[in-house]
Symmetry: C2
């Protein structure tokens, strides 16, 4: 946060970021515990143990890391923008790779047991999310990290990139909640209504993911937590502007 | 939209509002068709026909009407703020009543068949949404429609009210998607993976609800679609300010 920001605002921001990290990490741990303790753990052999890799990768990659990748602009306000931009791209790349591994795991598992792919609402929402996520990453690379387009196009795309980022995070959380309900009804339908520990654990995981989403949306959309303009970066922008004959913009 | 806004912006805004209404109404119709055609229609007799009232009321009240209630500030920009505020409150009240009817329907149905209440992730998310929705409506009434608190408190609460409104809409959509998956797995689990018409229809309904949410969030969060300040209202505000010794604010 900038030096002039009131102390109380910085403390609130710090507490909210801390809470988001605790909730996010707790979600990842709870997913691992659910799959590890109740469903036999993890393997890469086409069986149900390979399926278990899917929820863990999606919660870690498409939710926790994607959220943190967006948050870096707010957290590292005093670091050079170029550095933060690279960090934003790298965490997103990591999120993308982990998500693709998670997606491959479920397709592998389906192939082993002859289960049809892409018939459920969870799979439709999840696939839409991952495809737009890939597209968003490639466009982010081309527009902002190694800009190959004009600054006018960049300025036009920036609000769409920011809005899509938040939509993608919410979509990822929504898709995961659908996955939780599917998994519960496929595995403990007869006992779920008796409030068995596995059902409660998975429900709590769902609520934690919702809390993570709300915290992230609040931190990302609140105007006063935005990165303040940096005079040095502004002057660089003006220099860059004279080279490209436009107004350069980056997320 | 204000007179000076570029024509293209007004056209885009109109098209997006139109699209949101088409998608929203299509969601309501599809829910009615799903429950009417595949699950025997509607009644108020404690049976599955009473359950069918639940999804219809939630999609109509907690999603479509709630979205439109938020949208009125953007659509009726040239109407007096007081009128728009009353309209915002009335549509929300209608949404609240319809949602409570929908909630009663599912509890009635559970009582008839001895099904436990509040054990699923869908019920947890749905109940949290409805409780916060009620709270939000009452606070909105006390803070903005018949203000009984100081203008400082109003100003403090306004951004929370606006943020909570969007979160509530997204939560309502998320809860409905969970409900769709639950209903599908409870009724057509053995044929869902064969892509039967009921499964496809319910999946399409889910995707339409997501589209409605994305359109609404875009229309509501985009700065340039915000209601422009009205000089007459401003002067009224100043008069009001002198009476209450603070800066009056309303959503």
């Amino acid at each position: 946060m900038e030096e002039s920001a009131p102390r109380s605002r910085r403390i609130t921001f710090g507490c909210l970021v801390g809470a988001s990290q605790v909730v996010g990490l707790a979600s990842v741990v709870l997913t691992a515990v659910w799959m590890g303790h109740y469903h036999g753990g993890f393997a890469w052999d086409g069986t149900a143990k390979e399926f278990n890799v899917h929820p863990l990768c999606m919660v870690l990659g498409l939710i926790f890391l994607q959220g943190d990748a967006i948050l870096v602009y707010r957290v590292f306000q005093n670091e050079p923008k170029k550095v933060v931009k690279v960090l934003h791209g790298i965490i997103h790349l990591l999120a993308l790779i982990i998500s693709i591994v998670g997606m491959v795991a479920v397709f592998d598992f389906h192939r082993t047991y002859g289960i049809p792919d892409m018939y459920s609402l969870h799979s439709w929402c999840g696939m839409v999310t991952l495809v737009i996520f890939c597209l968003q990453w490639v466009l982010g690379l081309l527009f902002f990290l190694f800009p190959v387009v004009s600054s006018q196009l960049r300025a036009l795309y920036l609000p769409i990139h920011v809005f899509s980022g938040l939509v993608l995070l919410v979509l990822a959380i929504g898709s995961s909640l659908l996955g939780i309900v599917e998994k519960l009804l496929f595995s403990i339908m007869s006992t779920y209504s008796k409030r068995v520990p596995e059902g409660i654990l998975a429900n709590v995981l769902g609520i934690l993911l919702v809390c993570f989403g709300v915290l992230m949306c609040y931190l990302i959309s609140k105007e006063e937590y935005k990165r303040p303009p940096n005079p040095e970066e502004e002057s660089l922008s003006i220099h860059f502007k004279s080279l490209t004959e436009g107004s350069p913009t980056s997320p």
